[in-house]
Symmetry: C2
Subunit: 292 residues, 2 copies
Amino acid sequence: MKKVVFVGLGLIGGSFAAAMRGFEDCQIVGLVRRQATADYALEHGIVDAVSMDPMEVLPEADVTFLCMNPRQIVNYMEEHKDHFKPGSIVSDVCGIKTAVMEASKVLPEDVDFIGCHPMAGTEFSGIEHSFPTLFRNAHFIVTPRPESKEENVELIKRMAKHLGCRDIVVTTPEKHDDIIAYTSQLMHIVAAAVCDDAELFQCRGFEGGSFRDVTRVAALDVDMWTELFSMNAPALSRILQRMEENLHAYRVAVENCDVEQIHAKLTYSSERKRRMNLPGPGQFTLEELENN
Amino acid sequence: MKKVVFVGLGLIGGSFAAAMRGFEDCQIVGLVRRQATADYALEHGIVDAVSMDPMEVLPEADVTFLCMNPRQIVNYMEEHKDHFKPGSIVSDVCGIKTAVMEASKVLPEDVDFIGCHPMAGTEFSGIEHSFPTLFRNAHFIVTPRPESKEENVELIKRMAKHLGCRDIVVTTPEKHDDIIAYTSQLMHIVAAAVCDDAELFQCRGFEGGSFRDVTRVAALDVDMWTELFSMNAPALSRILQRMEENLHAYRVAVENCDVEQIHAKLTYSSERKRRMNLPGPGQFTLEELENN
């Protein structure tokens, strides 16, 4: 029986652990800092066992998922580098990969670090907001080291499939961070920037679905996103600049009341969106999922 | 029995007409241009009767909702100003109000024009995408003329309540357009601008819920939104400029990798979002609705 340990049972760690129910022959263990989290996890059947002592758990873990903020993950690997089981897998679930993979180099050679990023979340945090279907239909990104064992990568992939993820993409940490600056980090900054407008509180009663959708993630976990942004600053700066330019081009067309230009720009953007043809959350059937 | 006419049975007109089922003692009539739309509306029970002849329908309508694009609404009032029933209400459902209310001045004095904006929609258009619960929990904005009859405004409000709207806000067309530039038009331009990024098609497999949410409305009705934007250009330009500035301030903090500044800005934005406390779509119980 494999021992799979989740260090940190917040929104992501708690949901991941809970979703692992029934995965192969595994014992799911939570390693937490607060007694309240330990109690909650056991009472709600999120894990099989729980501990607050890394020294008791880490040396026996076949797979350890570090489910904390990026800086904590970096520090945790440094602090516990000699406590992981030889031959085991250490992984993480955070939203940046280059800095974490770089930091993982402190681990001994016989510990296989494989970065993960299950691309799901909500605007809430903490174990009380976790739920096992969080990752259903989500993308699951895996960033192995060049020297990662194929069987270890395969095990992670089977787990991702068990979570109900729509697809599993294997890539480099650099490519991951570059794209995520656009698809995730920019969206959070856009949501935040919309809420910075002076008119925000005057607009109650006037907001429709688009306003709710765009601003949904603005009520974010400030500590975590500060780390995610600052640890991916170059890529994020580049996409922020491009977004400013693209917004500005729209402003010029609107300011000039250039109807032809507005029409041409909207035609261009809306066709690109249609070509992307992104399904909304929950728009997959179980059958589609199984065929993916 | 009142005759309520919907001129245009697209996404909004079709949904509104369908949602009027059971409203007081009314006959719901669709006035359309295409036979296919007429057939669809009758086959799906969206209206009680349908016509393609304005001269047959308008003179007998107690309430006429113009459910077309803004320019068409303006032109329709000019063309049919002498065909509306004396003492009747003419209304519209489009997303800008100043230009439409201004254009409504061509109507005879004994026709009461009352602007409406039910704040709901989807990224689709056409009667085949209409559904009677579209307006459930939405805001319904009413912009009467100063001289509009109170009983007429009350009738419109009862209709909005029948649609299942969460609340009904009465305001001026100028205030409506100013706020809507922010809460609706800016969101559509943000969605479009995100899709303009050169990396769009490379990001498949890396997009999460926030990307889907922010870009959802980008596949918009180009003709309609070109009109909405160009007919509200001054207000929209102002908010676009403010959004650029707010985005830029985030970029400066990120470019400088100024962790304290990023943290302070995210604290500010996320607290504003939490203070807004916007419920997501579908987060109301029927009971809450009834109490509103």
